[in-house]
């Protein structure tokens, strides 16, 4: 009897002496059991490097085979432990029929409970109703009442909520209290449950509710562990908050990723591996089945204390009500990339191309690009969109063939691809027929001056017809007789040209390179550099039809 009392005393000490620990929304944490009670998956005792959780489907369950695909997807998602944005898919963005509940999404949530996670919102267990259930999970404090006030922004669950003496149960990222972001290190140095660690000016831990994601400027996202699903909705990937909760627990009983002093060590860290045990009831850590329960779904868990403020799951089973209109996701369909098309621009311009893709499955889509020139960049926003930015500079004129591929993360992985051209035209700032690049690199002419040598013949013409664009005394031999109006020939050979040529021949006006290029006709094929009577005779022949 005495030993029993001693054990109970020690256990009470373990439960109560954990004020310095900062846990999060873990399933056994609460006013009765203690708020600082991190829960670990089954098979963790404090020293394992890898914690393996074997998930099975009960052979006696109806629809057991229908459940397999989704359960395996759940396992993949937890093994990837990848935080996602935009994980809520409704209406035409998913493959869930109208009026149906997505088995895969609900199973992902319940499996989270079976791994030790609790709701991050007040949820049904709070006794609150309606939208008030979306307040951040907390105990009711000394006044025995959950204080609910959405604060100035009016958004329930956000950082300005006024919660009176309600004791926060959700850990938050110390640096920004944004549950839609995540730290590279996740332990008690970066996350806290203590409101004193909130960023300056913030009142309460924000929770990863969909309305809060919008408030914080993210694509509509919600933690899987937020209680509250809708029919016609799929949520098959984890949010940052879900990943952080699991990783926080995985920092071990010392709640430090890198170990530390005070007899703490890094050996207590672990990684979680879920494995599929098939339709079986042998060696299962989590068993799933459809039953005649009136509930939609629930995870029934037992736990045992393993260290000061730390519990591990000892038993876990999930039941789904067979009376519900479940949709069993059964196969993957390929994503569809929206048409991109050829992209045409000029050196010096910037072209931003928005890329998007859709997938009837609520898969996470990722983009890649091949054949990109150095003057183009490609950014995957991880939300089904990407941006191609093309910024060619002088010298980048070219025609490039590029491919963009979108991939889903279904089983098997499917992709869609489009190949298109990026056509960059040369920039010719002074419109002299030479690109800026050619002027600078090949000819040494001025890209902003069409007539670098000032001989009234543009640089492009000089290059094309044998002149030197840098020498005002060098001109091309057009020898077409077009010299009027003076200084800007009009492309027509007529009496005006003859009259101008005559005035030159008579010495009334001096010929420039332009007039010589056009009006120096004699001798034919090798003009002599002057406009005189011989040229007038040949010009007269051109004027007369």
């Amino acid at each position: 009897m005495k030993s029993v009392l001693v054990k109970a005393f020690i256990l009470n000490l373990l439960l109560c002496a954990s004020d310095t620990l900062y846990a999060g929304a873990y399933i056994f944490a609460g006013e009765a059991n203690g708020v600082d009670l991190v829960t670990h998956p089954s098979t963790y005792t404090g020293s394992e490097d890898v914690v393996t959780v074997r998930v099975c489907i009960d052979p006696s369950s109806p629809n057991a085979m229908d459940m397999e695909y989704s359960v395996q997807n759940n396992i993949d998602i937890y093994n990837q432990l990848a935080p996602t944005l935009g994980n809520l898919k409704s209406g035409s963005n998913n493959n869930v029929p109208s009026g149906a509940l997505d088995f895969e999404s609900v199973a992902l949530h319940e499996l989270g409970h079976c791994l030790g996670m609790a709701h991050i919102n007040a949820a049904s267990e709070s006794g609150l109703s309606g939208n008030n259930q979306n307040y951040t999970k907390a105990t009711d404090g000394a006044d025995n009442v959950l204080n609910v006030n959405a604060g100035p922004d009016g958004i329930i669950g956000s950082s300005d909520d006024v919660r009176g003496d309600d004791q926060n149960l959700v850990w938050f990222r110390k640096s920004n209290n944004d549950p839609f972001t995540i730290d590279s290190v996740i332990d008690s140095t970066t996350y806290s449950r203590n409101l004193a660690d909130l960023p300056t000016g913030q009142a309460y831990a924000a929770n990863a509710d969909r309305a809060v994601s919008t408030l914080l400027g993210h694509t509509k996202t919600e933690a899987v562990m937020q209680q509250g699903t809708y029919y016609d909705e799929a949520q098959r990937t984890l949010g940052h908050d879900d990943v952080a909760t699991l990783r926080y627990a995985a920092s071990g009983v010392d709640e430090r990723e890198s170990g530390g002093g005070n007899n703490r060590n890094a050996n207590d860290n672990y990684s979680i591996v879920l494995e599929y045990g098939g339709i079986s009831n042998t060696n299962c850590d989590v068993s799933m089945s459809l039953t005649n329960t009136t509930g939609l779904a629930f995870c029934e868990v037992g736990g045992a204390l393993i260290a000061n403020g730390h519990v591990r799951i000892t038993t876990a089973s999930i039941e789904f009500g067979q009376g519900f209109n479940w949709f069993f996701n059964s196969s993957n369909t390929a994503p569809v990339l929206s048409a991109v098309g050829s992209q045409n621009l000029i050196e010096g311009e910037t072209l931003t191309v928005s890329i998007s893709a859709t997938d009837v499955d609520p898969d996470t889509l990722s983009f890649s690009a091949s054949g990109l020139p150095s003057f183009a960049s490609f950014v995957d926003h991880s939300d089904g969109t990407a941006t191609l930015t093309i910024t060619p500079v002088v010298g980048d004129a070219s025609l490039r063939t590029v491919s963009i591929t979108v991939s889903d993360d279904g089983v098997p992985v499917y992709t869609d691809e489009e190949t298109f051209d990026i056509d960059v035209a040369a920039l010719d700032t002074d419109s002299d027929g030479l690109s800026d690049y050619e002027e600078i690199t090949n000819y040494g002419t001025l890209p902003g001056n069409p007539d670098t040598d000032g001989d009234f013949i543009n640089d492009g013409d000089e290059v094309s017809y044998g002149g030197d664009p840098l020498d005002p005394l060098s001109w091309p031999g057009f020898a077409d007789g077009d010299i009027a109006p003076l200084g800007s020939p009009d492309g027509v050979i007529n009496a005006a040209d003859y009259l101008v040529a005559q005035r030159i021949a008579l010495g009334e006006i001096a010929a420039t390179s332009l007039e010589l290029a056009h009006g120096d006709l004699y001798p034919a094929g090798s003009p002599d550099g002057v406009i005189n009577v011989s040229d007038l005779i040949l010009l007269l022949k051109l004027v007369q039809p």
Partner: protein
């Protein structure tokens, strides 16, 4: 006022007093007399405008902001309405008729199983005590995503047994989360086990073969 007039007034007055004392005669009422260990009660059997005698609802709290819940409504005339929301396999509204004996039997079993007289605070304390014992052994137990069972009962009169007081215009609400799981977990708690028996009985009624889809009528 002549003698005849006085006589008529007396007759009318007597009738009014009689009807006032026996108002149940103004409408049909089923009355069941209590025994030493069985409940007595009465309820109106003409219920076109009356409130139901029994309203049972399953509040599935995993669903967000969806007020449409599965429910069972039983009127005093034996008319039964069953509603399954759009997200359930049997989505739709169904109806059937219980005979008087069945309805009386149902109410008697709700009383015998303790649903009508359920002492919520006492049973909650029992559960807390159990969890406290568990905790003292370093063990924990939780069920996620509750279903709240809600049973509302309205009777003209209720008497738990022959030695109890009669209560006029009796209304009571039984509300319990996870009754199925708690009945399995706390097998030694008769209040929970018996209440779960009643819930099972109501669940069975929601699947009764006599239910007819109102949309097909």
């Amino acid at each position: 006022m002549d003698k005849n007039n006085i006589k008529n007034h007396l007759l009318i007055g007597t009738l009014i007093v009689f009807l006032g004392m026996h108002s149940s005669l103004l409408y049909a009422e089923k009355r069941v007399v209590s025994g030493e260990s069985s409940a007595g009660f009465s309820f109106a059997t003409e219920t076109a405008t009356a409130e139901p005698v029994i309203h049972y609802q399953q509040n599935i709290q995993m669903l967000a902001n969806i007020d449409d819940r599965p429910s069972l409504t039983v009127y005093g005339d034996g008319h039964v309405l069953v509603h399954y929301p759009v997200y359930m396999k049997r989505a739709g509204d169904y109806e059937m008729q219980l005979d008087e004996t069945e309805l009386v039997s149902l109410l008697q079993s709700l009383s015998a199983d303790g649903v009508i007289d359920f002492d919520h605070e006492k049973v909650k304390q029992d559960v807390h005590a159990y969890k406290k014992q568990l905790r003292a052994r370093g063990q924990f137990y939780e069920v996620s995503d509750a279903v709240e069972t809600s049973i509302d009962i309205r009777l003209n009169e209720y008497q738990k047994n022959a030695s109890s007081a009669k209560i006029k215009n009796f209304k009571t609400s039984f509300k319990w989360k996870n009754i199925e799981q708690d009945a399995s977990r706390y097998k030694n708690n008769p209040a929970i086990s018996k209440a779960n028996n009643s819930v099972s009985q109501l669940n069975a009624l929601m699947k009764d073969d006599r239910l007819i889809d109102r949309a097909r009528r």
